[in-house]
Symmetry: none
Subunit: 246 residues, 2 copies
Amino acid sequence: MTAPAIILIDPQMGENIGAAARAMMNCGLSDLRLVRPRDGWPNPAADAMSSGALGKMPPVQIFDTTEEALSGFHFVLATTARPRDMTKSVFTARAAATELQKRDADNQKTAILFGAERAGLSNDDVALAHGVITIPLNPDFSSLNLGQAVLLTCYEWYQAQDDTPPQSRPSGNSEPATHEQMVELLERLENELEAHHFFRTDGQKPIMIRNLRNMLLRADMTDQETRTFHGIISALTGKKSPLSDK
Amino acid sequence: MTAPAIILIDPQMGENIGAAARAMMNCGLSDLRLVRPRDGWPNPAADAMSSGALGKMPPVQIFDTTEEALSGFHFVLATTARPRDMTKSVFTARAAATELQKRDADNQKTAILFGAERAGLSNDDVALAHGVITIPLNPDFSSLNLGQAVLLTCYEWYQAQDDTPPQSRPSGNSEPATHEQMVELLERLENELEAHHFFRTDGQKPIMIRNLRNMLLRADMTDQETRTFHGIISALTGKKSPLSDK
């Protein structure tokens, strides 16, 4: 069983990073990645708060962008406190744990994104995920701090471990697409759409790109299917793909 | 539904009391009792850490002994990190939540005891309880701080009464696409691909069309997204859609 990676985007307080590390170790997770930690890394406040967890896990990895942090992953969930106006599957923390373990049984590398303390994840980061985790809590008082959100998410993953039957992909022999393959495909499509004046106004463009990414990530493509989709773009535009098509 | 009371025995750090209060409010609990809080009460560090939870719940009650704090309760569970040499029912946090709700349905007043930060509950306090809660965690790194232990216990109580479906339909305002809309979209795409010589040989064509349909149907498109996809085809081919695009 390979546990999901936990990726904190723009974390501010070292204490919260340490609490997240401790919660991860409590629940058997050990791949912690930080994107642009405000106070740099290593961070003495994080060490103190981790109760030794940071010393027991592999070195924390630091990245400049969410996309780099997601390199090599196949299935990504984004935690959000508030509903977003995006068409994406929504999982409770418990349902997410089951889904993550199904993906793992299928040899997919999985990751969970957490946003900054106050602001949460940007819509662009959410758009990079295949689905969203929302933890069911008292609607009149639902704000969790970062360490607590990581704890509840990891706790559900640990509780789900024992009785999840392995389940394989319904169809086909092809491998699931990696994050890089999807980004490469999405960027190529977006560039072609730009060149073909698809985005009516510059104001609409970011929203349209987000919607497009949400839609195509939901298809949960295989490696082979990304090549097919490159082939579609090449056929419709008459331009060769950077990959060998199909 | 009456939630269990949370009783902290000999709590030391105000921060932990505040974190416990916040966790309780997150999960719809509001009866917090303290036995011999080290720094007295009220406690500014607790107020700061509670993120407003202490202001939203009834006043915290302070007691000199566990027996006094438990006056009037019918069913009491004690949280313990390590097994005790006592003949007592042991519940996971999840099983405890179900049991507490059964007792509540039978009009029993319920409470959960938590011990001091390092020492935990004394054996005498555990002996006052009807059963013990042990939270299943990584056996090599199972120590939780007090606020986290309260959070996980209260979280399970909230989940046990919650009827949020574990996974909802994709969120967002748009209606799901109808079968006809999908077929119209797929046939238009397939015709364009045919016209652009995408299908290398006639023999391959039926299989490729099947794979394409499988991939795009998995995206579970909304009505709006089918229009976006028509817009993509129009943009890339330079041909207007039979629909008004987007």
